[in-house]
């Protein structure tokens, strides 16, 4: 069986779709050795970084998580199971996946450079979707090869690994392990000297809806603004941290506006209300901080006449796709969801029988 869902046909406006706001139902943490804990121990608090910081500092000692092993949906499933046990009932989600998968799907109408491959399976009326690890590894290698080629062309540019480090460094400079009131001045002032690691993570598991589909998404959140509300399901003031090159001309402005689509989708899906963008110079020096309200990104983009993307279309497309997917995946075999680079279609086909 081979079925294609054509992106282009689904880009007309379906009017206002039913959106459920994301509610955290559970969370888990990876510690600084990437060990799993069913708690919020790796939660971090936001406190702004000092401007003028060199984001490359400490790259040599970067304690990078080795993501070559396939982690599947393990942590997410463990957390959901524990949630169901505690609640004494099954979660009503029709789709369970990482936030990153949904981000890829939501950006399909406006992003055709990269492809993706996912595996999906139906189990007890719920579709579980994970990334096809082999594909991911392969495309990563391919990407690195291309970047190296480009690198040879442009002199003075930072290697891609260093530029990737900037984001982690910015996070290290912007976060505290406890609320500001419970942290010593010395810690705050010496954040720049801390060894940067991406092993520890706090992950939020949320229940949310897109169109008529109820989803359970898991994803990392960088920090919290104030405190988690005691009331269950109340919105949480999460912070998403991003870095971006300073806007100096139309070209960088356009690039940033395209980037905002990704920022918006990611934060929208987990219910992160605020994004802090650390603008950096070409040399990786932090020059400016900007707070952006997630909810305002679409309207601001519309007001500015941004043509490169449209939030409603992202939502409509993803809703329709999920609707279609629920009809398509009808047995407990393993299915592949694939989009080839530059293709207008998402293909879904069975790769393994029940």
């Amino acid at each position: 069986m081979f079925i294609a869902f054509i992106a282009a046909s689904q880009t007309e406006d379906h009017g206002i779709l039913c959106l459920t706001y994301s509610q955290e139902i559970a969370c888990f943490s990876y510690d600084d050795k990437h060990g799993f804990h069913l708690d919020d121990s790796s939660l971090q608090w936001y406190y702004p970084a000092e401007l003028g910081a060199d984001l490359s500092t400490g790259f040599e000692t970067f304690d990078k998580h080795d993501d070559s092993a396939d982690e599947h949906l393990d942590s997410l499933l463990k957390t959901v199971m524990s949630y169901e046990e505690e609640e004494g009932k099954k979660l009503d989600a029709q789709v369970v996946t990482w936030r990153g998968m949904m981000t890829k799907i939501m950006s399909v109408p406006f992003e055709d450079r990269d492809g993706f491959e996912m595996n999906a399976t139906l189990y007890q009326d719920c579709i579980f979707i994970e990334e096809n690890h082999a594909y991911k590894q392969a495309s990563k290698e391919e990407q690195q090869r291309q970047q190296q080629q480009q690198q040879q062309g442009r002199r003075g540019q930072f290697p891609p690994e260093v530029m990737a480090y900037w984001g982690y460094k910015f996070e290290a400079l912007s976060c505290l392990p406890r609320p500001w009131g419970e942290v010593d001045r010395e810690y705050i002032e010496k954040r720049g000297e801390k060894i940067v690691s991406n092993k520890a993570q706090y992950c939020s598991v949320v229940r949310t809806g897109l169109g008529k589909t109820v989803m359970c998404l898991g994803g990392e959140v960088d920090a919290i603004w104030d405190s988690k509300p005691t009331q269950k399901g109340a919105p949480i003031n999460w912070i998403e941290l991003k870095t971006s090159v300073e806007i100096r001309d139309d070209r960088s402005m356009n690039n940033f506006e395209r980037k905002l689509m990704k920022f918006w989708i990611q934060s929208f899906l987990l219910g992160v209300p605020k994004i802090i963008v650390g603008f950096r110079s070409q040399q990786g020096i932090l020059t400016k901080l900007e707070e952006i309200q997630t909810a305002k990104i679409p309207e601001t983009a519309a007001k500015r006449g941004v043509k490169s993307w449209d939030a409603n279309m992202c939502i409509n497309f993803a809703s329709a796709f999920l609707e279609w997917l629920k009809n398509t995946i009808n047995d407990e075999g393993v299915w592949r969801i694939r989009r080839r680079p530059h293709s207008q279609a998402i293909e879904v086909f069975r790769v393994e029988e029940v």
Binding site: P48, P179, W180, G181, R185, D226, T230, Q231
Partner: protein, 849 residues
């Protein structure tokens, strides 16, 4: 810092920190009915405020002796005055979230020394005032053929309210706390402008000075992640220091609210003798007043004193310019620089230490220090202070810089004093030449144009006995000294040859020396407290009385002053340099104590500076070798504080079981309560500027002496000696929080009797609350005072619980919070240029820093 001096200095140097308060006033209709201010409407000042903090002693004190009307007749009348005044302040600010009322509780020991000195002096003054009145009555009688005319004012014969009872542990403070709780609940029930406000009352049973309890609260909220960094704070109080405390919070949206000290002079005031309007003290005949209209509408037409804002945010802007040092080898951090500046302001004066001899606020002492700081900052390697802790090595730079200039400062001070003196004499002479001696040499100082017939006039008025200086610029001083002026002038009128001879020798403020007074109650005092209106004429040297230090024998402007200073003031061998260092180290400890007190809360309740005088800047040697550690210590109980600060004359504020300890010659601590004590002018002109040489309380001895009296206390008295807690009061209209608390404490499935507030339910307020046993929802709100000046309410729709300020386990940090939206800049380019112009030569008048 002296209040008027500090305000004057700040507002001259940083003019834009002050702006007038726009105040909506109640509208009086033609039929006499009053439409109260609707505080639910937008604030007329163009900005809304969240929290209002009242340093309540700044309301209670002025209400006990108002400047523009008679003092309240009794405690109940006083409470009503307090309500009225508080209402006015709240209406001005219209806090949308929180009102905190903080009354001084027991103070740290370091403060008690100052309180003791103030109270001993004020008891002495009260005694004088009483004597003066008696004298006046005697004179009126004399004129009236030996009988007191019936129209003589009651207030002249009545005993004045003893403001010494405004101290923790007194029955008065009990009544005050009760009344305020009632009134706040009443307002929550009846004033829609109050409905959403949460009220915290920290009464005198909660230890700590009012403004510092407020600071503790602000710090506690600040360290909670749920605190809104853009909270708009207003603090009301009289201390000039509040603006420093405001800076110390590092909450830029912070204002100080107070009466306009500079507006007083132009206002119509009442007579200081009888408290009536229509005449000034010098024209007082002590007569009962003529009724104003049928019902004698007391306050009709008295214009209310205007209020001003002091903007901490604007001061921050000025200081950002002033403290900016370019080319630092470390990152410039305005918050840290501000802390250093606040620290240096302590050198110039604070409530806990005598100020350094070289530093006077009037002589721009703060500028001197700031210049030293700026010059040394690049070499110090960092800031002098950090979150309320002093880096002694860096502080040494500041002392060294000051020491280099100390000599020159003293010399220059003398020179300008001499110049002032000469100018004063010259003007005096000119005046005398202008008016001649028309009065025929009768005992009048020059400068008055009304003729005085010889012999006592038919109808004696105070114009004839009060010989006032024609210009009074400092209302506070004028206020303080009214009784003394009166007294001295009565003496001047009495036909004693000494009085006559001294009163003619030139100075308008000249008072008769004690030696010349008739043997009356007035003669008994030892150290003269007479200060007169002479504050406006510092060249005058009359006020020394017969104090032993009448002549300034130290002469700071002459070489060898340090030797003389230590010999005369400390009675220590001038060769004993170790002693000097000991004094300096104690002083450094004091500065460290004050700094921590301001930034972290009281570091030690028992620490105090054990000398009456400060060291010289040059005595601060090797201070980096010091190790400063404070122990929290024991917080005094209210009666212990009362015993430590009150003179025997005010013993009525204490339960009678303690009285004999203050009066009996057999009392083991009788030496703590001298009837007579020396006031050392210490180079100053006015007695109130001098140093009261009272013995320091030896706390263990005091505690030992009162220990066995405790069991003899009545249960009510014993209760007043106990420690209390803050209370939180809110209205039913504050639905979320009200319902939350009711369901916790009063529903069928009650929770713990104590729980942590959820900041999302309480609009960001953090802290713990506890069920109050004596409170029941929807009960009767009873007016606690006798004369039922205000009603009871049958169905009280307010709620009262105990409230506990969250304790922070961490140091408070002088940093801005994330999410702060900086206040809109108030200074423009020309303001900044003007300040920079002032800075170019400021603080450097005494040679290189």
């Amino acid at each position: 810092m002296g209040i008027p001096a500090a305000f004057r200095w700040l507002s001259t140097k940083y003019p834009k920190i002050i702006s007038p308060v726009v105040e909506d006033k109640p509208i009086v209709m033609d039929d006499g009915s009053v439409i109260p201010v609707d505080t639910t409407r937008p604030n007329p000042n163009g900005e809304e405020f969240d929290n209002l903090y009242l340093d309540m002693n700044g309301i209670v004190h002025p209400c006990s002796h108002p400047e523009d009307r008679p003092a309240p007749a009794d405690e109940e009348e006083m409470m009503l005055e307090i309500f009225k005044y508080t209402d006015r302040v709240v209406n001005m600010v219209r806090p949308r979230k929180l009102l905190m009322i903080a009354i001084d509780g027991v103070a740290p020991r370091a403060k008690m020394n100052q309180q003791r000195s103030r109270r001993f002096r004020s008891a002495q003054e009260a005694e004088e005032k009483a004597a003066d009145k008696e004298e006046l009555l005697k004179m009126i009688k004399q004129q009236n053929g030996g009988i007191l005319p019936p129209e003589t004012l009651e207030s002249l014969t009545k005993k004045a309210f003893d403001s010494n009872s405004i101290t923790p542990g007194t029955p008065f403070m009990d009544i005050l706390a009760l009344s305020l709780r009632y009134w706040c609940a009443y307002k929550l029930n009846t004033d829609p402008g109050w409905a959403n406000m949460k009220i915290i009352i920290s009464d005198a049973t909660v230890p700590g000075e009012g403004e510092h309890k407020i600071m503790n609260f602000v710090r506690s909220q600040r360290s909670s992640p749920d605190h809104d960094p853009n909270t708009r704070h207003v603090i009301y109080g009289l201390d000039a220091d509040l603006i420093m405390l405001g800076l110390a919070t590092h909450e830029p949206h912070f204002r100080v609210l107070r009466e306009d000290v500079f507006a007083q002079d132009s206002r119509a005031r009442t007579c200081k003798i009888c408290g009536q309007k229509g005449h000034e003290a010098r024209n007082c005949r002590g007569e009962a007043k003529v009724k104003d209209g049928e019902f004698d509408e007391k306050d009709k037409a008295v214009p209310l004193k205007p209020f001003i804002w002091l903007h901490v945010s604007v001061l921050r802007e000025y200081l950002a310019v002033e403290l900016d040092v370019p080319g630092l080898p470390f990152r410039f951090d305005l918050e840290r620089a501000l802390d250093d500046w606040v620290f240096m302001c302590f050198f110039v004066g604070n409530d806990f230490l005598p100020h350094l001899p070289a530093l006077e606020i009037r002589e721009n002492g703060i500028d001197t220090l700031t210049a030293i700081w700026r010059d040394n900052l690049p070499f110090m390697g960092g800031y002098v202070t950090k979150d309320g802790h002093v880096d002694l090595e860096r502080a040494q730079y500041i002392f060294d810089g000051l020491a280099k200039q100390e000599n020159a400062i003293f010399k220059r001070r003398k020179e300008s004093e001499d110049r002032r003196e000469a100018g004063f004499k010259r003007r005096k002479l000119q005046e005398q030449q202008r008016y001649g001696h028309a009065q025929g040499g009768r005992g009048r100082g020059g400068g008055f144009d009304s003729g005085l017939p010889s012999g006592l006039p038919k109808a004696l008025t105070h114009d004839m006995v009060v010989n006032r200086a024609p210009t009074t610029t400092d209302a506070n001083v004028a206020n303080k000294s009214a009784a003394a002026v009166l007294k001295s002038q009565i003496q001047g009128l009495m036909p004693t040859p000494e009085a006559e001879s001294t009163a003619t020798n030139g100075s308008a403020e000249k008072v008769a020396p004690e030696a010349g007074t008739p043997p009356s109650a007035l003669g008994k005092r030892k150290a003269s407290m007479i200060d007169a209106d002479a504050a406006s004429t510092p060249g005058n040297s009359s006020a020394s009385g017969d104090a032993p230090e009448a002549e300034d024998s130290v002469r700071l402007w002459e070489d060898g002053y340090a030797d003389r200073y230590y010999e005369r003031k400390f009675h220590v061998d001038p060769k004993d340099l170790d002693f000097r260092r000991k004094v300096a180290w104690a002083y450094v400890e004091g500065l460290a104590w004050v700094l921590r007190y301001y930034f972290q809360g009281c570091p030690s309740w028992e620490w105090f500076y054990p000398y009456h005088y400060a060291p010289f800047a040059e005595d601060f040697k090797d201070i980096a070798k010091m190790e400063i550690n404070f122990e929290k210590g024991r917080i005094a109980r209210p009666f212990e504080q009362l015993m430590s600060v009150q003179p025997a004359a005010s013993r009525h504020v204490l339960p009678s079981v303690f009285h004999d300890l203050m009066t009996s010659p057999e009392s083991p601590i009788i030496d703590f309560y001298p009837e007579e004590f020396e006031v050392d002018l210490n180079g100053k002109k006015m007695a109130w500027q001098g140093v009261a040489l009272l013995p320091f309380i030896d706390m263990p001895r005091l505690l030992a002496a009162i220990k066995d009296r405790y069991p003899k206390l009545s249960p009510e008295d014993a209760a007043r000696n106990d420690r209390g807690t803050e209370v939180l009061i809110l209205s039913e209209a504050n639905h979320d929080l009200y319902d939350d608390i009711i369901s916790h404490f009063y529903s069928k499935k009650q929770g713990d009797p104590k729980y942590k507030l959820d900041p999302r339910v309480s609009q960001g307020l953090s802290g713990k609350i506890e069920k109050l046993l004596e409170y029941l929802p929807h009960g009767t709100l009873e007016y606690p005072l006798e004369r039922k000046g205000m009603p009871n309410l049958d169905d009280d729709r307010s709620l009262t619980v105990n409230y506990e300020i969250p304790a922070s386990s961490h140091n408070h940090k002088s940093m801005l919070l994330r999410g702060l939206q900086p206040p809109v800049a108030a200074l423009n380019r020309s303001d900044i240029e003007e300040l920079k112009g002032k800075l170019r030569n400021s603080g450097r008048s005494h040679g290189g820093a």
